[in-house]
C-alpha cells in the first residue's frame, strides 16, 4: 500500500483545477502544432501520447478548456 500511495501521492497539495488548466493549455498548443504538421487534428489518444499524459487526464483537461464562444462562430460561419 505504501508503495501504491507513494506512486499516487506525487503532487502534494496541487489542486485538480490548477493541474487540469495547465494540461488544457498544453493540449491546445499541441493540437495547433499537430494540425499544422499533419493537416488534420490529432485524436485524443495521439494528443495524450505526445504530451505523455494519461488519457483520463486529457479527457478531464479538455473539459476545463471549453470555450463557448467558438460554438457560435462555427454555427454561424
Amino acid at each position: 500500500i505504501g508503495e501504491i500511495q507513494r506512486f499516487l501521492r506525487d503532487d502534494g497539495e496541487v489542486k485538480v483545477s490548477r493541474r487540469l488548466k495547465e494540461t488544457a493549455g498544453k493540449m491546445r498548443r499541441e493540437r495547433e502544432a499537430y494540425t499544422a504538421e499533419f493537416g488534420r487534428p490529432p485524436s485524443i489518444g495521439e494528443l495524450a501520447e505526445r504530451l505523455d499524459i494519461p488519457m483520463e487526464e486529457a479527457l478531464m483537461a479538455q473539459e476545463s478548456s471549453r470555450r463557448l464562444a467558438s460554438i457560435h462562430e462555427t454555427v454561424y460561419e
Partner: protein, 146 residues
Amino acid sequence: MQNAVNISFNALGENEAFARVAVASFAAKLNPTVDDLAELKTAVSEAVTNAIIHGYDSNPAGMVYISATIEDGEIDVVIRDEGRGIDNIEEAKEPLFTTKPEMERAGMGFTIMEHFTDRLEVESSSSSGTVVRFKKRLAGKRVNCV
C-alpha cells in the same frame, strides 16, 4: 458486441460538465479526433441544458437520463427527461425559435445539435417528456483512397 452505458443526474446546471465528460470518456474508446470529441460534447450540452431549463424549468428534483452505445465506430446517444415536453417539435427545431428569449444565444440549441451530429431524432409528449437521440461517427471516418 454492443457496449452500453447509462447515466442519470439531478437537473442542475453544474451537472452538465459531468455529463459532457462522462459521454466523452465513453466515446474515447473510439479514439476520436479532439475536434469530433468537442463537437459531441457540445451536442450533449445543448440537449442536457434543454432538459434542465425547458423540460424541468430548472427544478433540480427532475432527473436527466443519458444512454450511450457504441457500435461500428459510431456512438449513439439518447438524452431523456420526464419534463413538460415540446408542443411542436418542427417549430422548436427552427433556428432562432425559443420559448425563453431572455437567454443568451437563444434558439440555436437544436441547430447546433443537428450541425454537430450525424443524425438527430426528437420525440416528445406532454405526458412523458422529451427524448433526443443522435448518432455520431467517430472512428473509421477518413477513407483515403490513393
